[in-house]
Symmetry: C2
Subunit: 302 residues, 2 copies
């Protein structure tokens, strides 16, 4: 099970009732957090999620609404009892920025490793089991990246085949996990009992950016595209462009171009009190769109 949780939907400043935009993706005991603004640790608690599993923190960029929660997050991960290393991925100088912020969060009980992103488009950054994290540069006021998470999925276990081959039920789990087993004097390979590999689950998270064809290509075929929608009011298209942000309509056009299955809008301007008011701006272009909500979840079977 891959479990996706949008922790908040705010941009620029945390508001009462609207946490800053961040995403937690959990898969088989490891959680990947993307962005960590002021209050993200509170959003994690509000969503009923834990800290100990957080093994990877991806930063889109270094603006405070995406990073100011890092010291508190690391301390809370430490207090959760985690001792395994944490990997932080981000733009150039990620290590220096995080170390600076940690002037108030020293003596953590785990190591922090850093991966500094390069300029390449769509580069594969980290693989954790069947989960692959890739990053892609987008245009904003400072260096910024979108992230893509892909979960490779093997074929479904075919119980009829397994029974026909006489494989004992006690061996099924090992075969499902990719291990060959000995049964009745012969070797049974996973391919003997698994169907054809299924399409990977693909998520793309992109915020604080100008729309771009290369980003739509990066998000191509996404099951879920989580994208900034700073404003929904059609009259504010120019303002979004001026500040190098992405409007509801622009996010919807990218989702359409990417052939995404579903679009969630997030990173709302504090001036937009009720984003739902502008849903149609996006839905007219890309119907399967949702206005992001605190703790909105989606689950995919693996």
């Amino acid at each position: 099970m891959l479990d996706v949780n949008l922790l908040g939907t705010g941009g620029m400043v945390p508001l009462p009732g609207r946490y800053l935009t961040a995403l937690m993706v959990r898969y088989r005991g490891t959680a990947v957090l993307i962005d960590c603004g002021e209050g993200t640790q509170t959003a994690i608690r509000a969503a009923g999620l834990g800290f100990k599993q957080i093994g990877v923190l991806c930063l889109t960029h270094f603006h405070a609404d995406h990073t100011a929660g890092i010291p508190g997050l690391l301390l809370s991960i430490g207090n959760s009892g985690r001792t395994e290393p944490l990997t932080v991925i981000g733009p150039k100088c990620v290590e220096q920025v995080v170390q600076c912020l940690c002037v108030i969060a020293s003596q953590l009980p785990f190591d922090v490793n850093f991966i500094e992103l390069g300029d390449g488009g769509g580069e594969r950054v980290l693989t954790i089991g069947s989960l692959t994290i890739s990053a892609h540069p987008v245009e904003h006021r400072i260096p910024t990246y979108a992230y893509r998470l892909e979960l490779a999925r093997q074929g479904r276990f075919d119980t009829d085949k397994a029974l026909a081959l006489g494989v004992p039920v006690t061996c099924w789990k090992r075969l499902q996990e990719g291990e060959a087993v000995e049964s009745g004097g012969r070797t049974i390979h996973p391919a003997d009992v698994l169907g054809a590999p299924r399409r990977a689950v693909k998520l793309c998270y992109a915020t604080d950016l100008r729309p771009a064809a290369s980003l739509a290509a990066f998000a191509a075929g996404a099951d879920l595209f989580i994208c900034e929608g700073i404003y929904g009011d059609p009259e504010l298209l120019d303002k979004a462009a001026l500040h190098r942000h992405c409007h509801f309509a622009e996010a919807a056009r990218m989702a359409k171009e990417a052939g995404a299955a579903e679009l969630w809008l997030t990173h709302f301007s504090p001036s937009m009190l009720d984003p739902m008011e502008y849903l149609r701006t996006a839905a007219d272009i890309f119907p399967n769109v949702r206005i992001g909500q605190n703790a909105a979840t989606l689950r995919f079977t693996d």
Copy 2:
């Protein structure tokens, strides 16, 4: 009018529904903020207060639950349109710590001045009009200070005296503000129309500390003593001492020793879900005690 607003009551970590402990005191267009943990800017918004007036930030110490909100706060003050300088007061190295945190909050539209506290007890740190801020070192795991705010109050304006002296009503405001005026060929001094100076309003804010007689002396005669109460359960007295924190009973004893008029408890452990459950632990020692609440306010006339 001196307006006191307890922004939150949490210790260690921000919780949904419980902001971290911080205090805002407003007087004649200037706001003094004491401590700024993760989410304090959200608490300021939730309390309906503004950012532009914030002219002084006092830090008790550098633990993250008292400082992690600084970058976001400074950005929000900047966005409010403030261009006047801000003064930050704190323990040794306050400038270096704040500058480090500001790796994600550069290009502020106002200057930040720093006042580094010394080792002296009860030292007067800053005077803003009739308001004086003093600091006093307390015992915690790292260098920590309590703060005292005192508002000097002149005597009340005696309208009978002013009328008897034939002072025109148009001159009253200037006399109230301490200015001598000419009236009917003679000089009228403020002392001619004002009663005896009134006792100063005194507030003391102390959190993250072990109780001490010197702190009770620093808070002596306080109209309001806001003090840490990390635990209320009588069985956790030793635990409070072990972690260099202050228990409800210890805060109450200091309030009694100080002869304070009122005590507010704050900086509750996240493990204490309902501090009200333990009110009696403090009230048996010092009856005029309240369990702090988000946005609890008190006003004093000047």
